[in-house]
């Protein structure tokens, strides 16, 4: 028997609302099947299961918001005997399972995100931290609606000034209220002990997704700027070869299959990362942990505002046509709110391309716990000096925001140089 838990669909996710089950007890599932639909504050995500087996019990009913790490369902090996409890109504299951769900949810959302770095096959096992007993006799309040952080006015003010995400803080004040000292102690020292809530609850209130997303982005970006010592590099890259090649190539292709410069840029980054694996991965617990695979996070702005950066899996091994198709698919599904859990948790390096908006360059904010972010501005004709002559060539300014804990400017500048080199031989992309 194993547990299927609420996955961390990005470092900014602390909890998710189960919107739908696509399976029922007794259904056989295999690795990669989409079994549930989960609403993070950013989007509705189709969640895959990473183990073969038979659904034994659906622990969390539809409409309930639970923290990352909470057991959503249990899975038994195919062919195993059906326990007596199987088939019991979900409501009953909740009653008996809820405390267990809470204890396994004890690791902080941040810790879960950190302890389970996005990998091609995220471990389906429950978090390895020992269960922390819940306070005896405390019945978690119904999820969502009546959960409000206890924060002193002063602490709230100081947190705002310092850009601290209060949800990451443990209160030491009266009845667990967060005080100024807790805020100033910061999330690094605080351990979140507030028990997340689980249990039957009325249908979730309509979410102001735009506001929720702004909050989530704000919290994550504030964390990034607070924790990650960014350094920034920029390099103007001559795109004349790449653009010429693209024009020639596109002449041979039907209009629907034509390639865009952005595909070249993504491909160049993907191949550069293979040479420079130190840019591809995560900073976890004071050490660099390389990503297994090159899964480029593609920053996609959503209609009505907001941003999401799902993974383009194995971008280093994709052809340009595959990249075009992959990005198009991601954009469509991101805007329709139908991304998959692996796409949310897997990115190893994020690429942001603001060129279509006409900006020259972008100094991005790293998406924790990744160690770098590559930005591209517009490809446009600019004056270019070469061989003692001033000419006009299409160029792009590539920027790198990188975590100084994981590497130095020297590494970063080599990375940009490698990207440049890739773009000078577009036929190999």
């Amino acid at each position: 028997m194993s547990d299927f838990v609420m996955p961390s669909l990005g470092a900014d996710m602390e909890a998710g609302t189960l919107l739908d089950w696509y399976v029922k007890p007794g259904d056989a599932v295999k690795r990669g099947d989409i079994v549930a639909l989960v609403d993070t504050s950013k989007a509705e995500i189709e969640v895959e299961i990473f183990e073969d087996g038979v659904i034994d019990e659906l622990v969390v009913p539809v409409g309930v918001r639970v923290p990352v790490g909470t057991v959503l369902a249990t899975l038994r090996p195919a062919g195993a005997e059906v326990p007596a409890a199987a088939g019991a109504p979900v409501q009953a299951a909740i009653t008996t399972r809820a405390p267990a769900a809470i204890t396994t949810a004890t690791p902080t959302p941040a810790a879960v995100a950190v302890a389970q770095p996005p990998a091609p096959l995220p471990p389906p096992s429950p978090p390895s931290a020992p269960p922390t007993p819940s306070a005896p006799g405390t019945i978690p309040a119904a999820a969502g609606a009546n959960h409000r952080l206890r924060v002193s006015p002063l602490a709230r003010r100081v947190a705002e000034q310092l850009g601290v995400d209060l949800s990451t803080i443990t209160g030491s004040g009266p009845n667990g209220a967060i005080t100024r000292a807790d805020v100033e102690g910061g999330p690094a020292t605080a351990v979140r002990t507030a028990q997340p809530t689980v249990g039957p609850s009325p249908p979730p209130e309509p979410v102001d997704r735009h506001a929720a997303m702004r909050t989530a982005i704000g919290a994550l970006m504030a964390r990034s700027k607070r924790e990650i010592p960014h350094y920034y590099l920029q390099q103007e890259i001559d795109m004349s070869r790449a653009i010429d090649w693209l024009r020639e190539t596109n002449l041979q292709l039907p209009i629907t299959d034509r390639l865009l410069p952005s595909a070249l840029l993504l491909s160049a980054v993907g191949r550069a990362v293979v040479e420079m694996p130190e840019m591809n991965g995560f900073w976890i617990d004071g050490a660099f942990s390389p990503g297994s695979g090159v899964h480029l996070g593609v920053a996609i702005s959503l209609r009505g505002g907001g941003l999401i950066a799902p993974a383009l899996h194995d971008a280093d091994r994709m052809s340009l046509a595959e990249i075009m198709a992959g990005v198009r698919d991601l954009v469509q599904r991101a805007r329709a709110g139908r991304l998959r859990s692996s796409e949310m948790s897997d990115p190893t390096l994020t690429v942001t391309n603001l060129g279509e908006h006409g900006v020259d360059l972008v100094h991005g904010v790293i998406y924790p716990p990744q160690v770098a972010l590559v930005g591209f501005g517009a490809v446009r004709e600019r004056p270019w000096a070469a061989g003692g002559m001033l000419g006009v060539r299409p160029t792009v300014v590539a920027t790198l925001s990188a975590d100084h804990r994981a590497g130095d400017g020297h590494t970063g500048s080599r990375f940009l140089t490698v990207i440049d080199r890739q773009l000078q031989k577009p036929e190999t992309l």
Binding site: P153, L154, P174, R180
Partner: protein, 334 residues
């Protein structure tokens, strides 16, 4: 110029010195009240003054608070500077009509033609086993009334120094002397003189919490602060001194430093001065607060006669310490 040595004096004697000085300084000043003459005052404050100043200026009155408080108000309107002693704040209720409808209003209703420079002294508070008709702290009721100034001397210097500015004030001034303070003894320079009657005072500086007290609860707060200090919590003790108009600036400045406040008030909690102070902190220093404002007040019962019940009903240092610890939370459990 030689500095005279400080002399040991009690709160009672300091009050008496203040009255004597006022009598000597201004022939318009006189004292009247129940048993203030031959008996020397119910609490012995005026002992000896009859011999010194004679029955014209140290006047025993009938047992009619309404009559003699009213007479005092009338004398003040007529140009005198009366000091009226009311035995306890409970008894002043008999004169509440005079205090509220005359003393507090005549300046206003006469378009400023009449000042009411009367001083009404009264004993307040419990702790002496005189039960439910002589022990209450009703300062909060009187502090409700615009047109009055209310003083609560809690130290020898204030007992000695508040009367002169009170008499000089054109408004009616009520002075509340907590019965438990009369035997307070300490050193006071012989040249100790008038003090301000505008501001609250910080009796003990501290960084972690503000204890706001007045009159009889100032020693309570100071005792609590000592106990807290032993546990590593530095409490700042603010003595309100002036109950109306409240010195918001001192209170708010202290809370802005400590971010926590406990109001210690011997009045009943409901509708108390503590409630007023607490509300002002919330209004003016909400974003400075790291914990809710707490109050330690008297139990909402008629003051009991048996000593153990009376003590149980009153704000005690241990209760103040407990309130502070609850505000500081887990940090206090280290």
């Amino acid at each position: 110029m030689s500095v005279a040595p400080a002399k040991t004096i009690t709160y009672r004697e300091a009050m008496r010195e203040a009255i004597r000085e006022a009598m000597v300084a201004d022939p318009r000043v006189f004292l009247m009240g129940e048993d203030v003459g031959a008996y020397g005052g119910c609490f012995g404050v005026s002992k000896g003054l009859l011999d010194e100043f004679g029955p014209e200026r140290i006047r025993d009155t009938p047992l009619s608070e309404s009559a003699f408080v009213g007479a005092g108000i009338g004398a003040a309107m007529g140009g005198m500077r009366p000091i009226v002693e009311v035995m306890t704040v409970n008894f002043c209720l008999l004169a509440l009509d005079q205090i509220m409808n005359n003393a507090a209003t005549i300046t206003h209703m006469s378009g400023g033609q009449f000042a009411i420079p009367v001083v009404i002294r009264m004993t307040t508070g419990a702790g002496r086993q005189v039960a439910a008709q002589h022990s209450h702290s009703l300062e909060g009721w009187l502090a409700h009334i615009p047109g009055l100034k209310l003083l609560a001397p809690a130290t020898l210097a204030d007992a000695r120094g508040m009367l002169a500015p009170a008499l000089a004030d054109p408004n009616p001034v009520l002075i509340f002397e907590h019965g438990s303070l009369y035997n307070l003894e300490g050193e006071l320079p012989p040249d100790a003189g008038a003090v301000d009657i505008e501001q609250a005072a910080i009796r003990r500086p501290g960084a972690d919490v503000t204890l706001i007290a007045y009159g009889g609860t100032v020693p309570t707060a100071l005792a609590a602060a000592d106990e807290l200090a032993a546990g590593g919590i530095e409490a700042e003790v603010v003595d309100l001194r002036v109950l109306r108009p409240l010195d918001d600036a001192t209170i708010i400045a202290s809370v802005a430093r400590t971010h926590r406040a406990v109001v210690v008030d011997e009045g009943w909690r409901s509708g108390s001065l503590a409630a007023e102070v607490s509300a002002r902190i919330m209004e003016q220093a909400f974003y400075e607060l790291d914990a809710p404002v707490a109050r330690v007040c008297s139990a909402e019962v008629p003051m009991p006669y048996p000593r153990h019940l009376e003590q149980a009903a009153l704000p005690q240092p241990t209760a103040v310490v407990g309130a502070v610890r609850s505000l500081i939370g887990a940090a206090a459990d280290e």
